[in-house]
């Protein structure tokens, strides 16, 4: 019984469907948070969740069953039967950039809160005429 389930889950199509469902679920959480929340930190958290969802989708879909990590080791002495290294490199870059932008955003929010005591997007009205 369990073996049957595992075998079913081990199909490429099933794995990828699970990845898509899971990551888009995460994306939904982030998008919903972005649209419904007005607290600045919560908005940043929502943006972070959306970013992570896209990364998971990309890494999950570019992964091929049966191939190993793109790295030589004891069992692998040549660069064949390995996963595509470019998505890893791209996501490594994107993660660092996303982290940098969010950290900067939090520093803006801290400074803004210190100056005005406001921490919500809908309270931001320095420029209303």
């Amino acid at each position: 019984m369990i073996e049957g389930i595992l075998e079913y889950l081990n199909q490429t199509e099933v794995i990828k469907t699970i990845v898509i469902l899971g990551s888009m679920g995460l994306f939904f959480v982030g998008l919903f948070g972005l649209l419904s929340q007005r607290h600045i930190i919560k908005v940043f958290i929502s943006i972070g969740i959306m970013e992570i969802a896209v990364f998971i989708l990309f890494i999950g879909l570019s992964f091929q069953k049966g191939l190993t990590a793109p790295m030589l080791g004891d069992a692998h002495t040549s660069f064949v039967q390995m996963n595509d290294p470019i998505p890893h490199a791209m996501i490594l870059t994107a993660i660092v950039i996303g982290m940098a932008v969010l950290a900067l955003g939090i520093s803006f929010a801290i400074e803004y809160y210190k100056l005005t005591g406001k921490n919500r997007l809908d309270q931001m009205n320095e420029m209303k005429h």
């Binding site: 972005l34 600045i40 908005v43 940043f44 943006i47 959306m50 970013e51 896209v54 990364f55 989708l57 990309f58 879909l61 570019s62 470019i86 998505p87 791209m90 870059t93 994107a94 950039i97 996303g98 940098a100 932008v101 969010l102 900067l104 955003g105 803006f108 929010a109 400074e111 803004y112 100056l115 005005t116 997007l121 931001m124 320095e126 420029m127 005429h129």
Partner: protein, 484 residues
């Protein structure tokens, strides 16, 4: 000479700032100006010696690695950006004596990073590399707009950052889908494979690209946040946003549209999006009283006009678009730089500033720039608008023609309102005059506007070649793929 210097040297300057800071108070300011001047001279030299497109390979040859492409259209943007940033920096040399930014070194780093990333966006031929430059330009712009640390500036910075972060998520999503379905990041290979994709996936990718870039190129309806940013930031940094950053994003967006999605339906959609964007921006601008906000709306209107010009997908209208872009960049640089001095002097940002101001020189150059934006003959703005309206009329899109003429009429209302304020007979304070350097900078930019207006034939060959290169997808592909 190689085009990599335009990106590597500003980055090197940024990383090496602590060393330059050792040369006294002015060390960084002068070395930054020196760097920008040499980059401008380098771009001139490349332009003069260039007889065919130059492809600069980084690490490995194009289909796999990243390459920078310097062709007739990208050299136009490189020259424009280096020139404008140089002019802005020269202007700041005097501005900083009265009202410097705190931690000035960081300010100079940001300006140079902005220059490097704008040039990188224009030159790069790899979509993920474009994303990286998109982020460098974005993050420098966020900090620049929040630089003064007043509540207004921080609010502007936060809004800019949040919209920018959302834009980058959708851009990464689009790039991920492109890589998953085409297995490449090279623009030429993507453009070859893109038409063969499933239409659903094509729709999704173009939607995400439109959201990602649309938030950055300030197109309706994704531009609700732009005017707050212009108002919250300094007038001096607004000059760079309006004249350099937006133009770089605009070029990349249309470059990608020409390469991936040259379908008539999609570009017709962009065409009307641009027209509607222009009309709405001009209508809303009518009732603005804050000057930065007013000129921000005027920028949005001009972006709409540029959208129309570039979406026509004909060499003539792209020529018109490049003329409009050039005229708009020069005029907005003049206006925002003059506003920076005026705000600093009169301590108000309201439109009634023009009733108080007493500076014939500034009054005249601002009037010339506004008339050029309106498209009065013998000024730079006229050439582009005339060519554009002509090509629209030839295509038989009379509804569009009507929309654009209506928008221009509305635009003229508030410009003439400002001109009326300038000549109103009210009590004016003592005469306000700029330093020689600042006058020289503004005069150079204004002379550029007049010269292009009187003698557009001086650059017409160059711009016509640039526009034919910009739309020629086939030769771009051959250039990029035939190199190995």
């Amino acid at each position: 000479m190689s085009s990599i210097y335009f990106i590597a040297l500003p980055l090197l300057f940024g990383f090496a700032t602590p060393i330059f800071a050792k040369f006294g108070k002015n060390g960084i300011a002068y070395s930054s100006v020196l760097l920008q001047a040499s980059l401008f001279l380098l771009s001139i030299q490349l332009f003069v010696t260039m007889d065919k497109s130059i492809i600069e390979v980084i690490a490995i040859a194009p289909p796999l690695g990243i390459a920078l492409i310097l062709d007739n259209v990208s050299i136009f943007f490189v020259m424009l950006f280096t020139f404008l940033v140089l002019m802005g920096s020269l202007y700041y040399l005097k501005l900083r004596e009265k009202n410097p930014y705190q931690n000035e070194a960081k300010f100079f780093i940001l300006i140079n990073m902005l220059l490097a990333s704008a040039i990188g966006l224009v030159l790069s031929s790899d979509i993920f590399n474009i994303y990286v430059f998109f982020e460098i330009a974005g993050i420098s712009a966020y900090i620049l707009s929040a630089y003064r640390k007043t509540p207004k500036a921080l609010e502007a910075g936060l809004k800019y950052l949040i919209t920018g972060a959302i834009a980058s998520i959708f851009l990464v999503f689009a790039i991920a889908l492109i890589y998953l379905h085409l297995g490449t990041l090279n623009l030429a290979l993507i453009s070859q494979g893109f038409t063969a994709l499933e239409s659903d996936i094509k729709l999704l990718i173009s939607l995400f690209l439109l959201i990602g870039f649309g938030l950055k190129v300030e197109i309706f309806p994704l531009n609700f946040w732009v005017t707050d940013i212009y108002e919250g930031s300094d007038a001096f940094t607004d000059a760079f946003f309006s004249a350099v950053v937006v133009k770089a994003y605009l070029f990349v967006f249309f470059h990608i549209v020409y390469l991936f999605l040259p379908h008539k339906e999609f570009t017709l959609f962009l065409l009307y999006l641009g027209a509607v964007s222009m009309l709405i921006a001009e209508i809303v601008a009518l009732r603005q009283t804050n000057l930065k906000r007013l000129f921000a709306y005027s920028s949005l209107g001009q972006v709409g006009l540029l959208f129309v010009a570039f979406s026509m997908q004909e060499a003539v209208s792209i020529t018109a678009g490049l003329y409009i872009l050039l005229a708009h960049s020069l005029a907005k640089m003049v206006i925002f730089l003059s506003l920076a001095s005026l705000f600093e002097k009169y301590k108000k940002e309201d439109i009634s500033l023009f009733k108080e101001m007493n500076s014939p020189f500034l009054r005249n150059i601002i009037i010339i720039s506004m008339l050029s934006l309106l498209g009065i003959p013998l000024l730079a703005g006229f050439v582009g608008k005339f060519l554009l309206l002509k090509s629209i009329a030839f295509s038989g899109l009379f509804v569009l023609l009507g929309l654009l003429v209506l928008a221009s009429l509305i635009e003229s209302v508030y410009y003439f309102k400002i001109i009326g304020f300038m000549f109103s007979k009210e009590e004016r304070g003592e005469k306000f005059s700029l330093s020689t350097l600042q006058r020289a900078v503004l005069l150079t930019l204004t002379l550029g506007i007049i010269l292009i207006g009187i003698a557009p034939f001086l650059i017409s060959d160059f711009i016509a070649t640039a526009s034919s290169v910009m739309i020629d997808v086939r030769s771009y592909q051959n250039l990029l793929l035939g190199a190995n």
